[in-house]
């Protein structure tokens, strides 16, 4: 099956060297993205989602303290270990990225049009100035920017955040990539703008067969967009499932916790928001056994001792000692006062 995949990540490890030793930020993450598929990488802040996205593009090279190992294969080509010069031919033209803070992702002192042009120039074609600016205008129009000729001459601070994110998407599309890594693309935007940007991404997928790795902590976004869900916790992928299965019966207590933490107007009564207690442990203070066990309502003694191996259950891949019980519905979390222990 691997040759059907556009992107295959195997055993990705990212560690950070500190004064006293190394901390594992991402531990042995493996996943695939198929052509035209939208895969959502979900998890709380600090779980390693953003690092995973950046590692795919080799963007962690520039930090001397980061060490990346494992394999990232894109379109049949191994990217890990490639020198920066070769990676540059991948970045933008094969894998592109959009960022969480759309204003910060643009150079404040360079006009927007030039920043889009930079992403186009990568393909080594020689074109006249007016043709290039015509192409930029077309691209901006495509991502829903009205009056592109005016916008091109403006600076990022003169443009709204939503507009900047559209520019970010235009920059990402300029190289005609096969995969878009979208790192929390709507988190910094107003709710109405969020919906527009998500619709645009979905549309581009339909139109161009673009694959998307969508990194988000917002389960609403994931439910709306995803074909497949990857749940990341403390640097590990703890559950992988088709979106349809995941939202009906998540098999990992953490995945289910994330779903249940979203307030629902039709079910929840006031004062009954189910948050997962506690926070993601820091990489240096990772608990032994299953990293989630201190926060898990259905933990066993075993969970503190042995790290669960990923287990395939139907279409789902789950790293949890209680996954089978979860799926058969013998466990209920958070809604009953007494979790089964």
């Amino acid at each position: 099956m691997p040759d059907e995949q556009l992107l295959s990540v195997r055993d990705l490890r990212i560690s950070y060297r500190t004064g006293t030793g190394e901390a594992d930020l991402v531990r042995a993450a493996s996943f695939d993205v198929a052509p035209g598929e939208i895969v959502c990488l979900v998890g709380e802040s600090g779980s390693g989602k953003t690092l995973t996205g950046r590692a795919i593009l080799g963007l962690l090279h520039h930090n001397d303290r980061m060490r990346v190992s494992g394999s990232v294969v894109f379109g049949g080509r191994e990217l890990t270990g490639l020198p920066d010069r070769s990676l540059r031919t991948v970045r933008g033209s094969q894998i592109a990225m959009i960022f969480q803070d759309p204003v910060a992702a643009l150079d404040p002192v360079v006009r927007v049009g030039e920043q889009v042009a930079e992403a186009m120039a990568r393909r080594g074609r020689r074109r006249g100035r007016s043709r290039v600016s015509g192409e930029i205008a077309d691209l901006l129009r495509r991502v829903g920017i009205t009056d592109p000729e005016l916008r091109m001459r403006q600076f990022p601070h003169e443009i709204s955040g939503g507009m900047c994110q559209r520019i970010g998407i235009a920059i990402a599309l300029a190289g005609d990539p096969g995969l878009l890594v979208a790192d929390e693309p709507t988190t910094a935007l107003d709710v109405t703008i969020q919906a527009q940007v998500l619709d645009l991404i979905a549309e581009l997928r339909r139109e161009r067969g673009l694959s998307v790795l969508l990194i988000t902590h917002d389960m609403g976004v994931a439910a709306r967009m995803a074909d497949r869900i990857l749940v990341m916790y403390a640097g590990s992928i703890v559950e992988e499932a088709p979106a349809a299965d995941f939202f009906v019966h998540a098999a990992h207590p953490y995945g289910l916790g994330l779903i249940r933490a979203v307030p629902r107007i039709d079910i929840d009564r006031p004062g009954r928001l189910s948050a997962i207690p506690g926070a993601v442990p820091e990489a240096r203070n990772r608990p032994p056994g299953c990293a989630f066990h201190p926060r898990c309502p259905v933990r066993l003694d075993l969970c503190a001792e042995e790290e669960p191996a990923p287990l395939r259950l139907g279409g789902q891949l789950v790293a949890c000692h209680r996954a089978a019980d979860m799926l058969t519905g013998r466990l209920s979390l958070w809604d009953s006062e007494a979790p089964v222990g």
């Binding site: 963007l59 150079d107 601070h157």
Partner: protein, 310 residues
């Protein structure tokens, strides 16, 4: 943009008037008798001395002397030199170019050394090259011109015989005095360019530029340097004060002609009109250049431009 210039000029005027008051009154507080300068020490009768005092208006109340000095200065008249009995503007005019040359050369060297070494230092950060540049920049900015000047003469004139030790007129005679000034002024620029480039390097848009496949050299030159220059230009404006005072000292050390040596002589000789004129002209130039710096700041940073347009 025009509004900025007008506003800055409005702030500059009281500054210049303040400078004129300080220099006018301080000169008159200093010990020494200008009449002796005017008569050049020749024996005089009390009547002759009285005539001189009246001729130069030194008998009038000091405030009315100040007001007439100010009124004439606005019209570009700075009076007659006590020492030469010639209009001071004539003498200043014949010497000013030498100082402007020196200041411009020192400014260019400051920019070249400051930005150039700052970029190299940031690119090769935490290597021995970076450490050397930073150590030298600290050394350069802590040594006074009266010390680095003779040092440069010793190395480049007497030992290496590359540049002449003194004189003014040719380009090669400009190198050492300009360098002695630039060593002082560029040190801070080097360190500021380095640190602001490294600060920009950590910003998200640099990662975004890499993610779209822009070559690293282009990222540094077009984006990081451009962003890092914004604070550097502001500092450059501040450094101009040091540049002008540096020029005065360097002219004396290197035996050059110019406003600096004219000013030093003027102070020695109690030549009030000469000193007043030079100080006022230099202060006006300083204010004017700072207005130019403010405008170029807006050019470099479009965010400032937008604020100013409001």
């Amino acid at each position: 943009m025009l509004g900025v210039v007008v506003r800055r000029v409005a702030i500059g005027v009281p500054v210049i008037i303040g400078v004129s008051a300080i220099i006018f009154f301080v000169l008159r507080v200093l010990p020494g008798n200008p009449v002796q300068v005017i008569t050049q020490g020749a024996p005089t009768t009390p009547g002759e001395r009285h005539d001189i005092i009246v001729e130069f208006g030194l008998n009038k109340p000091i405030f009315s002397q100040y007001l007439s000095f100010l009124g004439n200065a606005v019209r570009g008249r700075f009076g007659i030199s006590f020492a030469t009995r010639q209009p001071v503007m004539g003498e200043i005019g014949s010497q000013a170019m030498a100082t402007v040359e020196l200041a411009v050369a020192a400014m260019l060297m400051t920019v070249l050394l400051g930005v150039g070494l700052g970029v190299v230092s940031a690119l090769l950060r935490d290597t021995w090259v970076d450490a050397t540049i930073r150590a030298l920049s600290l050394l350069g900015s802590s040594m006074p011109i009266i010390w680095t000047g003779p040092l440069l003469i010793l190395i480049f004139s007497f030992t290496l015989r590359l540049f002449p030790a003194n004189g003014s007129g040719t380009l090669s005679e400009l190198v050492l005095p300009a360098l002695s000034i630039a060593l002082v002024t560029s040190g801070v620029i080097i360190r500021l360019v380095r640190s602001s480039m490294l600060e920009v390097l950590g910003l998200e848009f640099v990662t975004a530029l890499r993610a779209k496949g822009v070559p690293e050299a282009w990222i540094w030159l077009r984006h990081i340097l451009r962003n890092a220059l914004v604070p550097a230009v502001t500092l450059l404006g501040v450094q101009l004060g040091g540049l002008l005072s540096g020029a005065v000292i360097a002219e004396t050390v290197f035996g050059r002609q110019g406003l600096g040596s004219l000013l030093v002589n003027g102070i020695d000789e109690k030549d009030y009109p000469m000193v007043q004129a030079i100080v006022l002209i230099v202060a006006t130039a300083y204010v004017a250049i700072n207005i130019v710096v403010d405008v170029s700041y807006a050019y470099l940073d479009p965010r400032v431009r937008t604020q100013l347009a409001r």
